[in-house]
């Protein structure tokens, strides 16, 4: 591919990403306008006069027509409770939460570390165990280890995230503490800056919850890609030359098998926010997912739009990065 074609490719991709994100925000904006009726009335005390409700609506800028509000969201709107609105501010602002009485940007930044800790740890477990189990299963195709891991796959693919989480709580928290082993807490979150040990201890069960189903899928993907590769000529040559099994499987075969893993990995990584909503709810972790549940059920439109925007951005960026890596790898080969 020439430099020109490369720029062209990047430009189209970036434009499409931008359009997707903008479309997602607009749809969510309209959706919340329709779904959350009379936000000002919900904020007002019961039996409030029409005048009070109007003044509340004015204070939050929700008395303006929806297109003005949408324009203000993307460009620059009036300040609400001293918080600027719109992307054309520095730093860009996502508006003001009615229910929490705080800027949405501040709220999101506060909750992101918990969700990020959850996602990053789960990802580590998921990658390490998938590679290990997948390659080992491929080495003895049809052997006992292969059969056990296949059963493991079916099991965890057939358990919804919240069921896995509740079962882990039941067996590893409740049953173990009955037996006198009180290591795993059932809920809560401790920031890593406060105590790294406690942070990890509180996150082990949530990490497992999020990672188990992914390991179930990925060790199978890795297994079948590795099997595909080891049957090819260059691996046979390597074998004939007397290369050790470990170098063949974890070196050559694994790197050859990486493309399908990357593609699927990007999709699953981007979808991790959905898994985080459930996992945070099960384990009482105060992150983005829980914020989404509480704001959506209390009709806090600015927060719902902010979180949807956040996860759409995470989605398009991860898919883009994965595409870039796949592309770079294919260009090199």
């Amino acid at each position: 591919m020439t430099a020109f074609a490369r720029t062209q490719f990047l430009r189209t991709r970036l434009t499409r990403m931008l359009i997707t994100v903008i479309a997602v925000v607009i749809v969510t904006f309209v959706l919340t306008q329709v779904a959350f009726t009379n936000p000002a009335q919900n904020l007002a005390p019961p039996n409030a006069s029409g005048e009070t409700i109007d003044s509340i609506a004015r204070a939050y800028g929700i008395d303006r027509p929806w297109y003005e509000q949408l324009f203000g969201y993307f460009v620059k709107g009036p300040d609400i409770q001293g918080t600027p609105t719109g992307f054309l501010n520095w730093p860009p602002s996502l508006g003001y939460s009615y229910q929490q009485q705080r800027p949405v940007t501040e709220l999101l930044l506060e909750k992101i570390p918990a969700t990020l800790s959850l996602a990053a740890g789960a990802l580590m477990l998921w990658v390490i165990f998938s590679v290990l189990l997948g390659v080992l299963a491929a080495r003895r195709q049809g052997g006992w280890f292969d059969k056990v891991t296949s059963g493991f796959s079916y099991t965890f693919l057939s358990l919804p995230t919240f069921v896995t989480g509740m079962l882990l709580i039941y067996f590893l928290f409740y049953q173990l503490s009955l037996a006198g082993f009180r290591f795993f807490p059932s809920s809560g979150y401790v920031p890593i800056t406060e105590s790294p040990g406690e942070w990890a201890r509180h996150l082990i069960l949530p990490w497992l919850t999020l990672a188990l189903a992914e390991i179930a899928i990925f060790q199978r993907v890795i297994r079948s890609s590795v099997l595909e590769v080891v049957n090819q000529d260059y691996i046979r040559t390597a074998k004939a030359k007397g290369l050790s099994d470990r170098r063949i499987y974890f070196g050559h075969a694994l790197s050859g098998a990486l493309n399908p893993v990357l593609t699927l990995g990007g999709i699953e990584l981007a979808a991790i926010i959905g898994g985080a909503v459930i996992t945070e709810q099960v384990f009482g972790i105060d992150g983005i997912g829980r914020l989404a549940v509480t704001s959506a059920s209390s009709g806090d439109a600015p927060v719902v739009i902010g979180i949807t925007l956040f996860s759409a951005v995470v989605f398009v960026i991860t898919t883009f990065v994965v595409d870039l890596i796949t592309y770079a790898r294919s260009a090199r080969q």
Partner: protein
Amino acid sequence: MTVLARRDSIPKLTGPDRGPKDPASGTAAARRRAFFRDPATIAGLALIGLVLLGAIAAPLVAAIVGHGPIEQFPDESLSDTGLPISGGNGFLLGADDSGRDVFVRTLYGAQVSLFIGIVSTTIALVVGTAVGLIAGFVGGRTDNTLSAFTDIALAFPFLITALSVVTLNRGPQGDDVIDPAWVVIGIVALFSWTYFARLVRGLVIEIKQRSFIHAAIGSGAGRTRIILTEILPNVLPAAIIYWAVQLPANIIGEASLSFLGVGIKAPTPSWGTMIANAQQTGLYQYQPWLLLAPAISLFITILGFNLVSTQLRRRFDPTSTGK
């Protein structure tokens, strides 16, 4: 697993089979025979049969034990402190915090799961196939527009958007405007039709090039007729296999929404709500069946469909290579 996972990206759980034993080879009859003889198929069908039996037998069991699914029996099933009593009172798997029979509710839960799963997946199949047929056959600008829609739909976080959509159903008094079951069906279908659309579109583009389509165009058949009589019969088998693949994902979707409190609401028996109830009350510590009965039922249902759909894809899916 991520809720409503992209099922089309999940590989079949079996490895590459090569040579004469390739499961996707042989005549249709031979493949059908092999499909029904495979132990995985038999196990899957047995599990699905068990769930169906539970769903059908639910009213019968309720009549025999004398406990309706939403009836409360606090006097017989709860102790003075309000905790469920275990055993000896005719409650096979105990009661929940309101004194409702967990066993009877679990059986009724099968009806809810299957109904919502099957209806939503079928709607997604119909809508997705229609969109895919049009996008693939007409092509050009129509195709671009429909594909752009699909891209945007994929970028929405399912659960977060679903949470907002559900509030649409809240009337002025905080009550539901329409039955929440239909809202759940709508949301789950809304988030799964795109996979059918992508699958069908890809197939149509391929089939369009074949000679029998050119022959049909040459003999003066209209667009609608070609789509309905020549193309649809050729894409339908793949779409139906895909229906079986998507069904367990949609059952998980319903259960997850109910668990978060925005799907089926208590007292209607749904496995998701029952587990949420066990979590919120902490009652699983005294009454493990409140958690385990719906958890095991969900597991059996999803495992059964996963086993059968994996075998279906392995043996009959024209879009896969039998790996």
